[in-house]
Symmetry: C2
Subunit: 366 residues, 2 copies
């Protein structure tokens, strides 16, 4: 028998199933409308159950960051898996080739070294692997510079046996919101992608896939000329960062962490039963503010400090009185890292727990 | 057969067994010399194997933060378990009483509400539970104010059935290092503890245990007048924070995260295969600096930014050249939150992996 929300122990990761479903449908419909292939990044939820739902709603495949995530996500039986991370090292590549025996695998990479290793592993395993060449759209993370270095990388990939060059990928993580600066950056990005596609056309290298976008740019992906695929992660849950980036409203946040007040000994403050091991210590992006989440029951409260298991909340300006044993829902800054700290998720409608699922790929780092 | 270090996949949590053993012995001996009871906090390692070693070396019991950690740590068969966190909620208390059937349990708390709930649970389960009254030594986290509120809390605990008032506990987390300010704070703390003990003596309330201390103050615990017990956690591994607080040298850090360079596409920078899901996003304490760990192979490198699975390292001023596939050992800022992100730990001597153990209580939040 399923428990009621008041019966579950805290801290607990709680997902509002109606909001979740609305978020899932919204992006599936957006992608459909604009003819964008949707390959959602499973790093956010790390759950087979939710990956299956994404596929049911029309996702063409799944995205993962790690081979171990790919192994887990085979459980959702995707037709296709994109590993959006350069996979380096023989052991990992051998495991990835095993995944490639069960589903079509594509790897994003940005170096000849990684491409060569992948080619050798694919040859040993007698499989073919798709490759996307990654370029740096401005974040300065992974990705070669657009222009000659990118063309050169693509040419090298095409020459390597057992690799199938499919196109390009990028992550515009430098666009933090769609204010004036962000809109300008988005327009520049669209120009850049267009110019890269023209370069490739000119050189006669076929580009079937251009995969990119980020949470803040999600619903503007169709404005990026030549983009064929999006791989959003956060959209099904959302979080404080998404709200602040303009990507959604607070009411679109499906996931909260239910926490209990364990101390009110210090006047004007309260301590919650969760800290950096529950919420992660991610601060809000693109801000100097030091806060760790939004309290649904006390929006004016400042969750300003954490230890591992203690959350410090300043109640200045909050009218409601809190006592030991009271519970609050906290929307974390960054849901992807918070989910990874929890063993299971409670899917609720109101106070009714309707589903409990595991974070299957939690802690899958290799 | 045990693998060699170069064969294990990254990111991986690696512990130098010689340094570990030295750290364990150092604190066991320190506690012995000064007649301090040692009840190490298992939140740092979360491993039954290491808890057993702590007990073998003379620890009187174990400390945990959560009931779920207590349940796991029963596996180490401690004579005694301190739950250094106010446990609130019927379900959790019932589980804790089950633990109390197997070993002596003491709970730290700071409210009459928590004490009453605990008393009721102990009565229902027909067990007796020890209680430490927590006071705030200056951190402003949990703990009542010393003086009348603390005496009043102790009196209430003594009146509640099935509770055995054993003494006091505090956490001087406001002392960040033992520079001039820190030393002054430590002297004040000693005075405070002395004066509290005098108050209790005056009132005729027996105090058997005074439990306290923190990583920076660890080897100065004997300077706190009237302290009877320490419950350090970090000391067996140490981390960047411990080094910076003056608590140890870099060579005393037993735990590192082995990571692989996956991209050098951006000149002067490299990307590691681990970010906030591998190291945690804890910044150094007591500093405005934004860095996420110390690279053993390149001490001048600045690990200045993270995404979930990417570590951004600025190589300005670093002579060594790094290429895709190279590996580095990173000492994290805060080892307790980093360990909690890993499924297993590789115990090594040089390149030889001698033991692999699980992080048994990883993600035990409730």
């Amino acid at each position: 028998m399923m428990p009621q929300l008041p019966d579950i122990e805290t801290p607990a990761l709680v997902v509002d199933l109606d909001i979740l479903e609305r978020n899932l449908r919204r992006v599936a419909e957006y992608a459909g409308q604009h003819g964008l292939r949707l390959r959602p990044h499973t790093k956010t939820h790390k759950s087979i159950l939710l990956a299956k739902r994404q596929l049911e709603l029309g996702a063409a495949g799944l995205t993962v960051a790690k081979v171990s995530e790919a192994e887990v996500m085979l459980g959702a039986r995707p037709a296709d898996m994109l590993v959006a991370f350069p996979i380096v090292g023989r052991g990992k590549l051998a495991r990835l080739m095993e995944v490639a025996r069960h589903t079509r695998v594509t790897v994003a990479l940005d170096s000849l070294a990684a491409a060569r290793e992948l080619s050798a592993a694919a040859r040993d395993a007698q499989v073919e692997v798709g490759v996307l060449a990654e370029f740096d759209a401005g974040l300065g993370r992974v990705g070669v510079a657009p222009g000659e270095p990118l063309l050169q990388l693509a040419r090298s990939i095409r020459e390597l046996p057992h690799l199938n060059f499919q196109g390009l990928t990028f992550y515009p993580g430098h666009i933090k919101d769609l204010g004036e600066t962000g809109r300008r950056a988005l327009a520049q990005l669209s120009e850049q992608v267009g110019s890269i596609r023209a370069d490739f056309e000119h050189t006669g290298i076929e580009v079937s896939i251009v995969s990119g976008g980020s949470t803040p740019t999600l619903f503007h992906s169709h404005e990026i000329a030549g983009l064929t695929e999006i791989r959003p992660g956060t959209y099904l849950f959302n979080d404080v960062n998404t709200v602040r980036s303009g990507g959604c409203a607070m009411e679109d946040c499906a996931a909260t962490i239910l926490a209990t007040v364990v101390s009110v000994a210090r006047p004007g403050h309260m301590i919650l039963d969760g800290g950096s091991k529950t919420f992660s210590s991610d601060r809000p992006v693109n801000s100097a503010e030091v806060t760790f989440g939004h309290l649904v029951e006390a929006p004016a409260a400042r969750f300003h400090k954490m230890n591992e298991e203690h959350g410090f909340v300043d109640l200045t300006g909050v009218e409601r009185e809190f006592g030991v044993g009271d519970r609050v829902h906290v929307i974390p800054n960054h849901i992807c890292v918070a989910v990874n700290l929890h063993e299971r998720v409670y899917g609720v409608r109101g106070d009714r727990v309707e589903q409990i699922w595991n974070v299957d790929a939690r802690g899958k780092l290799q």
